[in-house]
């Protein structure tokens, strides 16, 4: 074995030729020093620096270093060092299985080098520093190697079993701290990603009520690939999207981010749903991460109640229409995205009537191991029907629709997978329509569409529909302007239909201000021209504009 003597820690290990270790009474103190729980309160960098100092003094060593395993690349990377700081500065990397540290990691056992010599060492810094003897141990977390801790001396030294045990204790302490730091870092990344991937708040769309639930299964460290999205299209329609990328973790999440951005970009560019899906498919195929994803996209015209749908491998949505049996719609007619290049997708046309509910979800909500999917879908349908009945009984208070459905389902079984659930309720249109809207111009288009639909429902002629819609939109634009600069301001639109007339009151709580906009006078003029009677009242509480349009032919 030439000049090199290698000692194992097992019983067969040779006795130390000489020992520079501290006397036994100090050993206990040394042990306490490297396992000191106070170290846990330091940041990872400070903790490692402090631990390496303590290792050096307890072992009477000159150098100490921690290298961490980069699993993807199969190399050990210097993370912290004392006495050989150069190692970290130069970012030394040792291939797994090679050299002193590389072998410790690969063989998952302590190694002693009594005499450092070239063939054993791949890291030139160890040699340049003048290190003569080395002792190294693996950093283990639940049996996995995450790195190596080693200590060295500038004079020849025979490390003994006590030294090995002491260094292993320090290594265990370091491994725990590193693992914890990584977990919390990953958790922070996960949470940050989740926040950017799911809409922070669902948009306000007049005539629709949204509720959603997102529940990651398990520890919450591994981000899921489930997501949903709601946004308004340039043509005034509202898009709903639900999707699920196969797998979990940061890669799944980044694929989901790419698809989510793609859906928005392609739709806003004005492509129809089928084309959007084809473009997404090509996008995912070209990214080539071997990830497939299921996606369903819906676009609702608020005025005509026409719902276009396209699905790439996604489970069917559940549609509850008033007075009808609930049914699954828009089932997948094409495979998931990222599977077949050149795949085409057909668009299905549906009706989403007022008073209905559309339920979008991911498979985690209905799939149970060892059970037919049909059972899961049946369970979902009955939970949704119960939620609809409860919503009708309880009115607008209490739980959201998504909460109801979710509560109805999990009371039977525990979740095995991530779950995303989005419920879209289309408000019932009676002779009275009441809307509370965010005071922002983006709500205007939805207000016009919903008002239009309400007027169609009451059989109002197109010309009169136009007059009312335009006049109410002008009144709403005024209300929005009054609220300018107020936080979270809302305004109300109350519409009342009768045989003879339609009466609409738009009420805001903002301050009346004399507008400097030249179109202000024009807005009032439009209201007066298009409506029979226009009344503007303002007091301390705000401004109320009442518009009345006679609709009976006789008058």
């Amino acid at each position: 074995m030439s000049e090199l003597q290698r000692l194992d820690t097992g019983p067969a290990g040779a006795p130390p030729a000489m020992s520079d270790a501290n006397p036994p009474e100090q050993r206990l103190e040394d042990l306490e020093r490297v396992t000191d729980s106070a170290l846990a309160y330091l940041s990872l960098d400070d903790m490692l620096a402090e631990l390496l100092d303590r290792v050096r003094s307890s072992l009477n060593a000159d150098t100490a270093a921690v290298l961490l395993l980069d699993e993807d690349r199969g190399v050990l990377v210097a993370r912290a060092a004392k006495g050989i700081e150069e190692e970290v500065r130069q970012g030394v990397q040792i291939p797994l299985g090679r050299g002193f540290a590389g072998r410790i990691a690969a063989e998952r056992r302590p190694i002693i080098l009594e005499r450092v010599s070239k063939p054993e060492i791949v890291n030139p810094i160890l040699e340049q520093t003048g290190i003569r003897s080395l002792l190294g141990v693996p950093l283990l977390v639940e049996g996995r190697v995450i790195g190596v801790l080693h200590a060295g001396t500038l004079v020849p030294r025979s490390f003994n079993e006590d030294d090995v045990r002491l260094l292993q204790l320090a290594a265990d302490r370091a491994a725990l701290a590193i693992d914890n730091a990584r977990l919390s870092e990953q958790r922070a990344v996960t949470q940050a990603m989740q926040r950017t991937l799911l809409p922070e708040a669902l948009p306000q769309v007049p005539g629709l009520r949204f509720s959603a639930k997102y529940l990651p299964a398990g520890s919450g460290v591994k981000i899921g690939g489930d997501w949903y999205d709601v946004f308004q299209l340039p043509d005034g329609r509202v898009a709903f999207v639900i999707g699920d990328v196969v797998g979990r973790g940061v890669v799944a999440a980044s694929v989901m981010a790419e698809i989510r951005t793609g859906v928005r970009a392609y739709l806003v560019e004005g492509h129809d749903l089928g084309a959007v899906m084809s473009l997404l498919n090509e996008l995912l195929v070209s990214i080539g991460r071997n990830r497939s994803a299921t996606v369903a996209i819906f676009a609702l015209d608020l005025e005509s109640e026409e719902l276009s749908a396209v699905s790439a491998g996604h489970l069917p949505a559940l549609l509850l229409a008033p007075g009808e049996k609930s049914r699954f719609v828009a089932g997948a007619q094409a495979p998931p995205l990222g599977v077949c290049p050149g795949q085409g997708y057909s668009v299905q046309e549906l009706r989403f009537p007022a008073g209905g509910v559309l339920l979008l979800y991911t498979d985690g909500l209905v799939e149970r191991r060892g059970e037919s999917i049909d059972l899961g879908l049946e369970r979902l349908a009955s939970a949704a029907n119960a939620a609809a009945a409860a919503a009708e009984a309880a009115g607008a208070n209490s739980l959201t629709f998504a909460d109801h459905v979710y509560a109805g389902l999990v009371q039977h079984v525990a979740l095995e997978d991530d779950v995303a659930l989005l419920a879209i309720e289309s408000v019932a249109l009676g002779s009275r329509l009441e809307l509370t809207l965010e005071a922002a111009p983006r709500v205007l288009v939805g207000l016009r569409r919903t008002l239009g639909r309400w007027l169609v429902r009451h059989g109002v002629r197109p010309q009169i529909r136009f007059d009312i819609t335009v006049a109410v939109s002008e009144a709403a634009a005024n209300a929005i302007e009054h609220a300018y600069g107020l936080r979270d301001a809302v305004f109300n639109v109350e519409c009342q239909y009768s045989e003879a007339e339609v009466r609409v009151t738009v009420r805001d709580t903002g301050r009346w201000r004399e507008s400097t906009r030249s179109d202000r006078g024009r807005g009032l003029m439009i209201m007066r021209e298009l409506m029979g009677a226009t009344e503007v009242r303002h007091d301390e509480s705000g401004t109320a504009v009442t518009l009345v349009k006679r609709i009976s032919e006789a008058s």
């Binding site: 340039p234 043509d235 005034g236 806003v268 560019e269 111009p441 983006r442 205007l444 288009v445 016009r448 197109p462 010309q463 136009f466 819609t469 335009v470 939109s473 002008e474 634009a477 929005i480 906009r517 030249s518 179109d519 202000r520 024009r522 807005g523 003029m525 439009i526 021209e529 298009l530």
Partner: protein, 123 residues
């Protein structure tokens, strides 16, 4: 940023406006229309035949654009389908008395072609 569809006939840009023009997008629509006026001198046709709603913010935007173009001896032309609800609204706010309005794109291009040579003559 939404790009409004634009076509050129004989070098005259024809820009098609969205279904809705209101306080939410009037500024954006104005910016896109203005970009075409600076690129292509004297005539701009704004095709409103797909636009169903134009609110006072949108109307104001059109009046201002027309005024600015006139100051530069350029002409804004609008295409509004006759007998459409939008046409009725345009009448109410007095658009046809201030801005040339045409029934369809072909008419607007015709009118633009005829007016162009005289516009090119330096005063």
């Amino acid at each position: 940023m939404i790009e409004l569809p634009v076509e050129h006939f004989d070098g005259i840009p024809v820009v098609r406006t969205p279904v809705d023009i209101d306080a939410a997008n009037a500024t954006r629509v104005r910016d896109e229309l203005s970009a075409h006026t600076s690129q292509h001198g004297f005539e701009l046709v704004v095709d409103l035949s797909e636009t169903r709603y134009l609110d006072s913010a949108g109307i104001d935007m059109i009046f201002r654009l027309s005024r600015r173009m006139r100051e530069r001896r350029a002409t804004l032309r609008l295409v509004i389908s006759p007998e459409s609800e939008l046409g009725r609204l345009a009448e109410i706010v007095g658009i046809p008395s201030a801005i040339p309005v045409h029934d369809d794109v072909a008419q607007a291009i015709d009118a633009a072609r005829r007016s162009r040579p005289s516009e090119r003559v330096d005063p």
